[in-house]
């Protein structure tokens, strides 16, 4: 158990800046997921914590100790790699026990620990096999066991599930969470898969181009995305965004396509007439008869999901999607109404893309007559 403190950390390769001023405190014992597309710097950040990559500026401390100049072996972290990185010439037992062997633990004791850990991840029958004789899921377990046996202060996961098929991925995801709950070490998990991120995380970090866009609980990030980037990254389908301008009284958005849409509260942080992006979640809006919703749209096509459908529509020329359980037969180009859900609207600054808070007013009581 250890807190990890990342302060003003930057990374440059030659003259290329790939990470700048990253600040992040990972609480002791929490499961933190770093989420972002490939190339956003999430793996680099993880590798910097591990000590596999040097940091160019700033400081990283683990359990209060600055680790900038410590070798990986001195940091007390264990890592699970994307391709598992198992030693191909060693048996499963030797793979799991290697760290102990290097540390000089006596053979009998080592064997006992290996047996224990192997049992906890369901590998007891495979101890004598070589990695080449195992399936993907089994290799994943060996990689996990190899990390667990060191009883690390910190667990690092570098996209460990991305080489597995969909079903196994879900299964291993549950297992990782269970192991975390049992061991209680601080875990940092890097992924580009938002489902993995949302389901595993105590807190999520969304990264973009070497900077942190938002830190928060999965719920926070879903309910109150800090930027259009986060809004577009989290949720499937992603949040719909419509460009427009803030009305003079700051209580509505006048969309480029014409209609005026009332906001749940005044956007006091922006000037009237400012460029904005208005967002709404596909699963919070609903379909209505033409002319009866907040806004009019035209039907494009539909995707069947089984548990619901994703309707793809156009508001003027802007494609939007809508998740609904309603089964409607619509012709291409047919007109349809959209109820956006008043409380479901998000507002972002059109220039910076940052979220604009709406001071939500309490519903006024009708004056007593």
């Amino acid at each position: 158990m250890a807190e990890i403190d990342i302060r003003r950390v930057g990374k440059t390769y030659g003259k290329t800046v790939i990470m700048q001023g990253v600040d992040l405190t990972i609480r002791s014992g929490e499961f933190l997921v770093i989420l972002g597309p490939s190339g956003c710097g999430k793996s680099s950040l993880l590798r910097m914590i591990a000590g596999l990559e040097e940091i160019s500026s700033g400081e990283i401390t683990i359990a209060g100790q600055a680790v900038n100049h410590l070798e990986p072996r001195e940091r007390g972290c264990a890592m699970v790699f994307q391709n598992y990185a198992l030693y191909p010439h060693m048996t499963v037992a030797e793979n799991i026990g290697y760290a102990l062997k290097v540390a000089g633990v006596a053979k009998a004791q080592r064997l006992a620990r290996v047996t224990d850990v192997a049992q906890s991840v369901g590998l007891s029958e495979f101890l004598d096999r070589r990695p080449g004789q195992l399936s993907g899921g089994q290799r994943q377990r060996v990689a996990m066991a190899r990390a667990i046996i060191r009883e690390p202060k910190v667990f690092l996961f570098d996209e460990p599930l991305s080489n597995l098929d969909a079903k196994l991925r879900v299964q291993m995801r549950h297992e990782i969470r269970r192991i975390h709950n049992r061991i209680g070490a601080t875990s940092v998990f890097v992924t580009h898969d938002q489902h993995e991120g949302m389901t595993l995380a105590d807190r999520l970090v969304v990264m973009n181009k070497g900077t942190i866009e938002q830190i928060g609980t999965p719920e926070d990030i879903y309910e109150r995305p800090a930027s259009t980037y986060v809004a577009g990254f989290i949720g499937s389908p992603a949040m719909n965004l419509l460009p427009g301008r803030l009305s003079d009284d700051r209580r509505a958005v006048v969309l480029e396509s014409g209609p005026r849409i009332d906001l749940p509260g005044p956007a006091t942080g922006l000037n009237p007439g400012a460029l904005v992006q208005m967002g709404f979640r596909p699963e919070k809006a609903s379909l209505t008869a033409p002319g009866r919703g907040t806004i009019e749209a035209r039907f494009d096509f539909v995707e069947e999901l089984g548990a619901g459908r994703v309707y793809h529509l156009r508001i003027e020329d802007i494609p939007v999607s809508l998740h609904s359980e309603a089964k409607m037969k619509l012709a291409e180009g047919a007109s349809i109404g959209l109820d956006l859900g008043h409380q479901n609207l998000h507002l972002f600054d059109g220039q910076t893309g940052r979220r604009v808070p709406l001071s939500v007013e309490m519903p006024q009581l009708a004056p007593t007559a």
Partner: protein, 293 residues
């Protein structure tokens, strides 16, 4: 993979002909000729051959000088192989760690391979010269202590060093390629597991290099047996008193200086059989132990 199938046609024959011709002219024909000579008595100035059966082999194999030559060839082959591979591996590991200047190093390391064996021999003749070479200072301490021209073991040492120097480059290239093909994440995983560079070398790199190691042992041994002529000829001429009379050099000396074509042919058949046996044994018994999957 898809394979193209052709009916036999004159085009196929024409396309195959150059390669077949080369193999025939430079390999099968001389081998057949050597075989023929080994079982006959060949006149040095031409003329009729007399069939003598295994007489040539009997003579060769009962000759103490021949066995001395076999012995020194073995010493030369194993010592050169061990020395050159150890040097190549060490250097390749340094280059693989990408220490400062490794690029320049990599290029210069490959150069010795491009130098012809006689040139290597000639160069080392200067290096080991008892009056002016690097060891000549020994003679200022005690005159005559270093002279490969007089001392048998010193002469053997010089050809071993020269041969090893020439072979380092070849092994180096293969070791470096093999080291670089070890996935980076493996090295990182073992670093996370607490292993320092030296430990990683022993536990990880060396075991993963064994297929390359095996391949290089065979290539280097075979090469040391068959390709040492240039070095011996220019460096020691087989001397002093046959101390560096390697098998391949003895074939040349007996055949073209002693005009014993038949004896030389018999020796070359024995050498060929020896190399083939060595390769067979290694492939049969060693190779199957060195692959992982």
């Amino acid at each position: 993979m898809r394979r193209a199938h052709f009916k036999f046609s004159w085009i196929a024959a024409v396309l195959l002909a150059p390669q077949l011709l080369i193999i025939f002219v430079f390999f099968y024909w001389p081998s057949a000729q050597a075989m023929y000579w080994a079982f006959t008595l060949e006149q040095p100035w031409g003329g009729g051959n007399t069939w003598v059966g295994f007489d040539n082999f009997r003579k060769v194999l009962t000759d103490p000088y021949y066995w001395a030559s076999v012995k020194v060839s073995m010493i030369y082959a194993f010592a050169t192989t061990a020395l050159s591979m150890a040097m190549a591996l060490t250097l390749a590991m340094f280059v693989d760690r990408q220490l400062a200047g490794y690029r320049a190093y990599r290029v210069t390391m490959i150069l010795p391979y491009a130098v012809a064996a006689p040139a290597v021999g000639l160069a080392f003749r200067f290096v080991f010269n008892p009056q002016a070479g690097v060891f000549s200072f020994l003679n200022t301490l005690s005159p005559g202590i270093w002279d490969p021209g007089q001392s048998g073991w010193q002469a053997v040492l010089t050809i071993i060093l020269a041969g090893a120097w020439k072979h380092v480059a070849y092994s180096f290239i293969f070791f470096l390629a093999a080291l670089q093909s070890i996935p980076r994440s493996l090295t990182e995983a073992s670093a996370m597991d607490g292993a320092r560079p030296l430990r990683r070398m022993v536990d990880l790199q060396l075991p993963l290099l064994t297929p390359t190691l095996f391949f290089l042992v065979i290539i280097n041994l075979t090469d040391s047996f068959t390709d040492s002529f240039g070095i011996v000829d220019t460096l020691t001429g087989g001397g002093p008193f046959r101390a560096t009379d390697l098998m391949v050099y003895k074939i040349y000396a007996d055949g073209f200086r002693g005009f014993d074509y038949s004896g030389a042919a018999a020796q070359s058949i024995v050498l060929m059989a020896l190399v083939m046996a060595l390769t067979f044994v290694q492939f049969r018994y060693v190779e199957r132990r060195v692959h992982y999957s």
